[in-house]
């Protein structure tokens, strides 16, 4: 099963490599990883998407909790939560394809953030599945570059 694990950790040099090292040393899988500081500058928030059965996810959570720099670990997938991912796509356009691309962008409510003569850079945020669908909607040979942020998320409960 796919799990989104949200980690608060001390914003210290080396903290990221401790987490990444843990995953590689123990053979846990990482689908995506995002990290940035929070409103509290001493704390970072890291969101990891991993796939594994319940036993593996339980071990991941326990091992993460064991890291000295880790303050909290939450398996977002175990609760009501919101998840989002952002993608930037550079897509080539010409007179023949532009109209088709425009309709697709409209269909997904995606935004053009840079429009050059031969290419658009477009932006879309949403659940990973929606991002997948969005990317798949284009002709593969028209896509010049795709850059995804990986998933971030928050739990919907008010207290956290």
């Amino acid at each position: 099963m796919r799990h989104i694990i949200s980690i608060q950790l001390e914003n210290e040099s080396g903290a990221l490599s401790r987490v990444a090292g843990l995953f590689s040393a123990r053979g846990f899988n990482i689908e995506s990883l995002t990290v940035a500081t929070t409103n509290d500058p001493t704390l970072s928030r890291m969101t990891i998407v991993s796939v594994g059965n319940d036993d593996i996810i339980e071990q991941i959570v326990k091992q993460l909790n064991k890291l000295i720099d880790v303050v909290t670990v939450t398996d977002l997938t175990a609760t009501e939560h919101i998840e989002r991912e952002l993608v930037l796509i550079k897509i080539s356009i010409d007179n023949d394809t532009q109209a088709k691309v425009d309709t697709q962008l409209d269909a997904f409510n995606a935004k053009i953030i840079d429009a050059a003569e031969e290419a658009y850079i477009v932006e879309l945020a949403g659940k990973s599945q929606k991002i997948n669908d969005f990317i798949n909607a284009f002709d593969a040979d028209k896509i010049i570059e795709v850059s995804r942020t990986g998933v971030t998320g928050v739990c919907q409960k008010i207290e956290s």
């Binding site: 040099s13 080396g14 490599s17 401790r18 040393a25 036993d55 326990k62 909790n65 000295i68 720099d69």
Partner: protein, 577 residues
């Protein structure tokens, strides 16, 4: 008070109560050595190799229960220490290792003797720190000792740049306490889990206590003994747990696992209730997981939640300091009536009759088992025994029944050859009034031989019992059993003359070739109270360690000495190590 970083560090160590530091100097730590030189309360032991420093600090920690401290320079100093750090990590030994680092201005420039110490050690420390600023020293040292010694203990590395040791700053003293929001080692014991555990124990018809290193490290020997006596349950202990419960007591079934006794392993296999205490279901204990304890409900007591359910699914887990949990269990069991387990004991006593540690003697050849038995006799079972890794380690564990915790010092988790000698030195410094014996092998002893020199310098008289079989015996045994006797690289030609070697290091060397000379030699060695004596004992080169659970087999599929042909192992067995 204005002090430089090195002086602050030394004051911190003093305030922490550190009495011994095992280390080796080099450019990056010269300021620290300069500050140590004028410190009268800390003795520094100058080892001959940084791995020896860490093993000695480790032996000191295992024996005393205190935090071991070691100091090494940057680059090769640190990399030499890594094996020692990993050894301590695998066995959860409290330790602080301080390493020098190149000046902060040149970090990342591939400077002379620069290595990424924090990166290299990350996966074999409980935590590590890089200090680039003298202002951070006091708090970080406090944190390091706090982390190393609380919760599930482990080594903590503090890597300090040279400029941080030189900088002069205003020092406000060593902090008394420390708070860390991300590290809360104190656990409240869940009383509901205790109640669940008791419910399982009450119903048990075939219970067994399976105790591990956590009972030793967690100083839970007394509580473990009380629980075992109160319940009347049989107890088996892991290689790391030996001594927490007295091995000579009638409820003790001896060690379990790959080279455990028949009665221990059979009792585990048939049990309907296993109380695992400070043990982690290591693969050397469980054998084939598919065949592991098929009938048992498992209660797992451990300080580390990640140990629970990692290898084996358990029915009830209780997280907490082993000692606290055991006290809660003892309390909770008061007034409860347990099932009558007479039939279970009868069965166990039948298994005992198999006498799985019996071995054949051959006229004229010294059996390694006999040596350990005689060592036990000569030391009245009261010595601290350190060991290296190999067959001799198993024989020491099997034939020297330990009745007290912290008397059996070995690298169980990592299996580090070379551990025994420096660990013996550390043990002797921790317990100068006890006899210390290092049971080693002709292969292992050569890995840290240079520490003989340190032992002379610091007057740490230990007795080295070299079970010299001329082979990397444990490797040879596996080759005999699983590689059709192709003895690839397990025979060492050209062994040194260990007697002359010991003598050249200023110690006494005695070679023993005949069984008749064995006892007199041991007595003579232990008569030499103030000297290190190297007993080079020529033992049967063909002897194997029994009983044995071959890879891929279950607890009930043991091989016994002289009674089984060694079956060639199956495919899944060969995949294991």
């Amino acid at each position: 008070m204005k002090l430089n970083g090195a002086q602050i560090l030394v004051d911190c160590l003093k305030s922490e109560g550190v009495k011994h530091i095992f280390g080796y100097p080099g450019g990056a730590v010269l300021h620290i050595y300069d500050a140590l030189d004028s410190c009268t309360t800390i003795d520094h032991v100058l080892v001959r190799h940084e791995q020896g420093a860490v093993h000695a600090a480790d032996g000191y920690a295992r024996t005393s229960g205190k935090c071991g401290v070691s100091l090494v320079t940057s680059g090769p100093g640190l990399t030499n220490a890594v094996t020692g750090i990993a050894t301590a990590f695998t066995d959860s030994i409290p330790m602080v290792v301080i390493s020098g680092q190149v000046p902060s201005a040149v970090i990342g420039s591939d400077a002379f003797q620069e290595v990424d110490a924090v990166g290299i050690t990350r996966s074999c420390v409980k935590h590590n720190f890089l200090i680039k600023n003298a202002d951070d020293l006091a708090e970080t040292v406090k944190k390091a000792f706090y982390i190393a010694t609380t919760g599930r203990p482990g080594p903590v590395l503090i890597d300090i740049t040279k400029d941080a040791t030189i900088a002069e700053i205003e020092y406000e003293g060593y902090p008394e306490t420390i708070e860390m929001r991300s590290y809360q080692p104190k656990v409240q014991i869940n009383t509901e889990q205790i109640a669940k555990a008791i419910a399982v124990i009450e119903k048990a018809q075939k219970p067994i206590i399976y105790s591990g290193g956590g009972s030793v490290i967690g100083n839970a020997s007394e509580a473990l003994t009380t629980l075992t006596r109160n319940t009347g349950f049989p107890i088996t202990q892991t290689l790391m747990g030996l001594g927490a419960y007295p091995a000579t007591d009638k409820q003790s079934l001896g060690m379990l696992g790959m080279h455990g006794t028949y009665e221990s392993n059979m009792a585990m296999h048939d049990s309907d209730c296993i109380i695992a205490i400070g043990a982690r279901f290591d693969d050397r204990i469980t054998g084939n997981l598919e065949k592991f304890c098929p009938y048992a409900k498992i209660i797992h007591i451990d300080i580390d939640p990640s140990s629970v359910g990692k290898v084996v699914g358990v029915d009830v887990s209780v997280i907490g300091q082993v000692n606290d949990v055991l006290h809660a269990l003892i309390q909770g069991l008061k007034g409860k009536t347990l099932s009558n387990i007479d039939t279970w004991w009868k069965q166990i006593n039948e298994w005992r009759k198999v006498d799985s540690l019996a071995y054949k003697t051959t006229e004229g050849i010294i059996k390694p088992q006999t040596v350990v038995e005689m060592l036990y006799e000569v030391t009245n079972g009261e010595a601290i025994v350190t060991s290296d890794v190999g067959q001799h380690q198993m024989w020491a564990a099997q034939y020297y029944p330990f009745d007290k915790p912290r008397r059996w010092i070995n690298s169980g988790g990592l299996g580090t050859m070379g551990f025994g000698l420096p660990a013996a030195m550390g043990a002797k410094l921790a317990e100068p009034d006890l006899e210390v014996a290092c049971v080693t092998g002709d292969g292992s002893i050569q890995m840290m031989l240079q520490e003989l020199s340190t032992m002379l310098q610091y007057h740490t008289p230990v007795k080295i019992i070299n079970l010299n079989n001329g082979y990397l015996g444990m490797v040879r045994q596996w080759q005999e059993f699983f590689y059709e006797k192709r003895y690839a690289m397990s025979y060492m030609d050209a062994l040194p003359d260990f007697v002359k070697l010991a003598e050249s290091y200023g110690h006494i060397g005695i070679r023993v070739e005949k069984e008749a000379d064995l006892k007199p030699a041991l007595l003579e060695a232990f008569k030499q109270k103030d000297r290190t004596v190297f007993l080079d004992i020529i033992t049967d080169p063909t002897e194997n360690v029994f009983p044995m659970i071959p890879s891929g087999a279950g607890h009930h599929e043991m091989l016994l000495a002289g009674r089984d042909e060694m079956a060639s192992t199956n495919d899944s067995g060969l995949n294991l190590v």
